[in-house]
């Protein structure tokens, strides 16, 4: 399998990386040069995988008691831009006045 310039532009967009156009062909070569070494995995014989994987211990759970790891510095001390306690970003072009835009892409 190999990537094209279009693929690289697409994944750069997904990853929110601005790649200068003239860098794209180099990246295509570099990524393909890496990916070619991955093809060996397609030939691996997975029939050797143990059917019964050892029982999973499962994750430890936390009691529902307030007491989070405290912040020893104010948010303002590390935030690039804050106002009235809010983190600021360029105004989002969106409907309504507030809400969670979980699935709305801010393109």
């Amino acid at each position: 399998m190999s990537v094209s310039e279009k693929d690289v532009r697409h994944i750069a967009s997904l990853a929110r990386l601005a790649i200068p156009a003239k860098r794209i062909p180099t990246l295509v070569d570099e990524l393909n040069h890496i990916l070619i070494h991955m093809d060996v995995l397609q030939r691996a014989d997975l029939s050797a995988l143990d059917e019964n994987t050892p029982a999973v211990a499962g994750m430890p759970l936390r009691p529902d008691v307030p007491g989070s790891v405290p912040l020893e510095r104010r948010r303002e001390d590390f935030a690039p831009q804050m106002r009235d306690g809010f983190f600021l970003v360029p105004r989002l072009d969106t409907h309504g006045t507030s809400g969670s835009s979980a699935d709305e892409d801010a393109s």
Partner: protein
Amino acid sequence: MNRAEVEALIIVDAATTASRVRSREQSSLLALAAAKSQMESANLGRNGLNAILYSDADGALRAAGELGAQFTYSKTKSNFALAGVPVMVKDNIATLSMPTTCGSNILAGYVSPFEATAVKKLRASGALLLAKTNMDEFGMGSSTENSAVGPTFNPIDNTRVPGGSSGGSAVAVATGTVRIALGSETGGSVRQPASFCGIVGVKPTYGRVSRFGLVAFGSSLDHIGVFGKSVDDAALGLQVISGRDANDSTSAAVDVPDFRGHREVKSSAPLVGIVVGWPREYFPESLDSNIRALCERTRDALRSLGAEIREVSLPHTDLAVPVYYIVAPAEASSNLARFDGVRYGIRAESDSLRELYENSRSQGFGAEVTRRILLGTYVLSAGYYDAYYKRAQSVRQLISQDFARVFASGVHVLLTPTTPSTAFKLGAKSDPYEMYLSDIFTVTANLAGIPGMSLPIGRVDRLPVGGQLLASHFDEETMFRVAYALEHALGASAHQ
């Protein structure tokens, strides 16, 4: 403090220093003063070996003073395993007293508002946190050349790399500045630089040391590890930072044994009953013959210590690097999404949110990080997930099974070379994949989560060579037992 005094102090191992400080035989300030002096002499700073990014001599001094007061007025001394021992910490481990920037521009100036569990444990043990060390950006590299502030140089030959990504910590220990330093590894970033710098580097079992406060690269592969000037320094350092942590869901509820139980080598055959595996896949035809010869010498030393040597096979070893370079970038692409210029880190002022993201991230991340984020995004993306990520996780399972079978067959530890070469020249590996192959013998332990360590077994053309010991899950104890005996047996020849 004159030079002779400094040199007399820095050859003292951490356990001895701590014990002297606890018994008030030695001031809690003394070892720190020696470390500060050596830091200057060895030229660890920006214009020298470039091993140190930030230092906090004042803070360390204050801690030493408080510690001294404690020993004057308090009777409970036994807990201070690192009393008065100066230490350094890799720049991707969160500290309150110094910035935590992961060798990256994107975190320029960032000071964490909380501290890593491992650092808290170091402080609680009386260790004096002196500096944060240079690294490949976010741990992505095997040479410490990928730091936003420039490469770290190998103190043995400053035209060569110290290895990486924890190169700064390795150099701090190799120069004798500190006896113990924390590093981290995702594919060998402690063991490989330990090998290149001629010191001990240990990566514990996955889950042994809390990752809370370690800035994530590949979460399922990331470990905090320890550099030591000697096996005992490394064992003591690991002892202090080990244990279950409620803030890390992958931290294991497994008792921590005494890693230092076998530090005194009492008999001439201390390894009777120990089976050492010699995995043939780690000694390919192509392996450098000098490195092979040193490994064989080490094998013979182990045999004469009473160990049984058994040739074994780990048939999926050659798949480890491809698996690693799918899993690690995939996890990295997600772990590094949080660096978006909104809540912390650098921010490129922009008119739109997309520009804010893209410009902040592109200005913040270096070339290797960008490459790996792209690679990781690609292998997780729709249509490729099964072929790459899912398949890689299955093959990873095969690699784990290989180890499980060998250890179940009665083998206690495996002996392998740590690296396929000695420290290479700066700029020598411009091809990314060639650089990736420096991790060929170390990535397997990260993939399987088993403990591993590198210790010096000799030199080739003045350059150190590390031998690697691998053990089964949570059996660091046996690994250290073999390492103590080997260090004792090899003596000065480990550095010749």
